[in-house]
């Protein structure tokens, strides 16, 4: 008898794994749970995807359920819509954030509107996996944060996990959801390790969570910036400041109640994302928090994000992306009012 645990035994207890592996496990478990679930994307089969997120799934589930597509993003999303209309649950991988734009029309004019324009007769439970964000030292079009463009489109749900356990459960919850869901996968955190408990579900994917309690100010962010905010809170604690961190998790729907409750409690709110602040999703959060926590705030809601420029050459991305210091600078400013 082997001393190694069987797959089933391993699944019984929390397991340390990297975020990419957690998504792989979620896809594996949904492919197992529902034969109508299919994966489609570029290079997701034999290669296992350029980030190896789908590693081993094609050999396990076959080429008909883990489908290597032609190199055509609009085709990937458009055919996923057709398969979903037929009763399937396609999980489409777009290789990089910057390559989602050829599919933008299918996502915004077709996928997002289909349930509504059919008066509810058609559901399109398509999940789009989108590796997003910067800090990977790549060339242009590989570090984008397009969430505001999709958040502005009614009919889409958008979530962004920040840790392996959430990544596992939010992926599964996205797939079983009857609405189209875009999962913004924080690609620079693919190799972030953490416990994944496949028996105990994470909170509802479409809610925000307070991931660190604090009293003096709140930092709200999602995806790759959550570990940055936690580190900023840790650094602030050394200086005697108590920072609360809200992991927003879901961009649409937005759990504005949880964010506003935290802001009202600490009286200061800093919102952070990698995307440019100008016209960014942080503005939506700031407006809602200002309205809901009005009278409890001792400072305007401040935003930390990218600049109003195309994503810069990655040799300069360390100056562009919000980091611990940029977050703490905003916290300091919120104390200056």
């Amino acid at each position: 008898m082997s001393a190694e645990l069987s797959t089933e035994q391993q699944a019984q207890q929390p397991e340390e794994m990297v975020l990419a592996k957690a998504i792989n496990a979620a896809l594996h478990d949904e492919l197992t749970a529902d034969e109508k679930t299919l994966l489609i994307g570029e290079d997701i089969g034999a290669l296992g995807g350029v980030f190896r997120v789908t590693d081993g799934l094609q050999s396990r589930f076959g080429t008909d359920r883990v489908i290597d597509s032609p190199l055509a993003e609009s085709g990937i999303v458009g055919t996923s819509i057709g398969m979903a209309m037929r009763g399937y649950r396609p999980v489409a991988e777009i290789q990089f954030d910057g390559f989602v734009f050829p599919a933008f029309n299918q996502i915004t004019t077709q996928l997002a509107k289909m349930h509504n324009r059919s008066d509810g007769a058609i559901t399109v439970p398509v999940t789009i996996r989108l590796p997003y964000g910067g800090s990977i030292g790549s060339i242009e079009h590989h570090s984008e944060s397009p969430e505001a463009l999709f958040a502005h489109t009614a009919g889409l749900r958008i979530v962004a996990p920040s840790n392996p356990h959430d990544a596992y459960w939010m992926t599964r919850q996205a797939i079983v959801c009857d609405d189209p869901v875009i999962i913004l996968e924080p690609k620079r955190r693919y190799w972030l390790k953490g416990p994944v408990d496949r028996q105990n579900p994470a909170p509802d994917a479409f809610t925000a969570q307070v991931v660190r309690e604090g009293a003096d100010a709140t930092i709200a962010c999602y995806g790759p910036l959550v570990p940055v905010a936690l580190a900023a809170a840790e650094a602030a604690a050394q200086d005697g400041r108590s920072i609360e961190v809200v992991d927003i998790r879901s961009i649409s729907p937005l759990d504005d109640e949880t964010i506003a409750r935290s802001a009202a409690k600490t009286s200061r709110l800093v919102v952070a994302h990698e995307a440019p602040t100008f016209g960014g999703f942080g503005a939506e959060i700031a407006a809602r928090a200002a309205e809901k926590a009005h009278g409890r705030l001792r400072s305007p809601v401040l935003r930390v994000g990218g600049f109003h420029m195309p994503y810069p050459p990655s040799k300069q991305e360390h100056r562009y992306l919000p980091d611990i210091d940029r977050m703490l600078e905003a916290v300091d400013r919120s104390f200056s009012y």
Binding site: P70, V77, G82, M85, T109, N116
Partner: protein, 372 residues
């Protein structure tokens, strides 16, 4: 443009020619079937005229005339099985009526009281798609679903194992990237899709020659499947070519393409003025090739239909037009509450909050009214 003669069985003069491949499909049609082709073309022509009038009278937001394309549409849809899924453009009125979609359901979108008027699965006829070519990818995806159903032995209840998909588009949409991607997917996976391009010569004001210097049917070869040109104003030729291709697709031969060469006699939409970009002579030339006229000439000469039949069809068409007018004027707008309710299939907190806000806001006006 490269002159590849379209397949034609019934000439504009109303004479039928023999074709080894296609004539047997016509020979297999009963007199009843043959009369039905005429009836369906005539019904659409009358409905189209009524809808155009309704728009001119301010009763419709828009109408998209299909005048002149009745032969292409009726011949093709008649060659399919009712169980075959159709992904139409926004001009497939003859096909929609053929499948049983009611005047009220058809006019709903153009009255702008709801985005769609029918349930697609009831008629195996998807909603009209307004963003050009987008539906061709849905058709390919649907066909991927058919293929997977067959592989796993899980054809859904109510659907048939030999189902094929009709993907409609026009000469303008043939330039869209989505159409290219759809044909790439269909070719690569050997999908059961029949692409049906109605080349009506004009994409609003731009001629087909701006979309392509080669016949659109020739594009199929680049994707590894067969494309055929047919005279779209010949309802019998349209029927036979579609029947032949559907049969081959059903036998597992993968996708096929039909370029149906026809002509849009009317405007692109009621918002268009075709006199600005095409000559009256050109329109007259095409009117001389009218699909109904030539078919009626032939039907009469064959003694398959007589004046009594035509009279009966005319009366039915008048009833249909009256029903369209009645439906247009009486159909109620979908309430905004229902629009809220179908944005998502599952609860969404922002939608719920906005719906509740609107209710309170409007209730405030009602209270003011009560006081006044």
């Amino acid at each position: 443009m490269n002159a590849v003669q379209p397949i034609q069985l019934l000439a504009p003069e109303g004479t039928l020619s023999e074709n080894e491949t296609y004539s047997p499909y016509i020979a297999a049609l009963s007199d009843e079937d043959l009369r039905s082709l005429y009836r369906n073309m005539a019904l659409e022509r009358r409905l189209d005229a009524e809808a155009t009038s309704l728009q001119r009278q301010g009763q419709l937001a828009l109408w998209v005339p299909a005048l002149g394309q009745e032969g292409a549409q009726v011949g093709t849809i008649a060659a399919l099985k009712p169980s075959d899924m159709v992904f139409p453009t926004y001009r497939e009125h003859a096909m929609a009526l053929y499948r049983g979609i009611t005047p009220e359901e058809l006019i709903t979108q153009f009255r702008a009281v709801a985005h769609a008027g029918w349930t697609p699965e009831k008629y195996n006829f998807h909603l009209y798609t307004v963003v050009l070519g987008a539906q061709t990818l849905h058709a390919a995806g649907w066909a991927m679903g058919i293929a997977q159903d067959l592989r796993t032995g899980s054809v859904p209840r109510g659907r048939q194992e030999d189902e094929i998909v009709l993907a409609c588009l026009g000469d303008g949409a043939s330039s869209q990237g989505d159409v290219h991607e759809s044909m790439v997917f269909a070719g690569s996976y050997g999908l059961p899709v029949l692409y049906f391009i109605q080349n009506n010569h004009w994409a609003i004001s731009v001629p087909t020659s701006t979309q392509s210097k080669a016949p659109l049917a020739a594009r199929a070869g680049g994707y590894g499947f067969e494309g055929v040109r047919v005279d779209g104003n010949d309802v019998l030729g349209s029927y036979a070519v579609a029947a032949h291709m559907a049969e081959q697709i059903r036998s597992g031969q993968g996708p096929k393409l039909i370029e149906s060469v026809t002509y849009r006699i009317g405007a692109h939409t009621t918002a268009d003025d075709p006199t600005k970009y095409r000559s009256a002579d050109e329109v007259e030339r095409w009117k001389a090739q009218d699909p109904l006229d030539r078919y009626r000439t032939w039907l009469t000469a064959q003694e398959t239909a007589d004046e009594g039949f035509y009279q009966q069809v005319e009366e039915e068409a008048e009833d249909l037009a009256a029903e369209l007018r009645r439906a247009t004027l009486s159909i109620e707008a979908q309430p905004l509450e229902e629009v809220f309710d179908t944005v998502y299939a599952e609860p969404h907190r922002q939608i719920e909050a906005e719906k509740a806000w609107l209710k309170d806001y409007e209730a405030g006006f009602a209270e003011d009214g009560d006081k006044a």
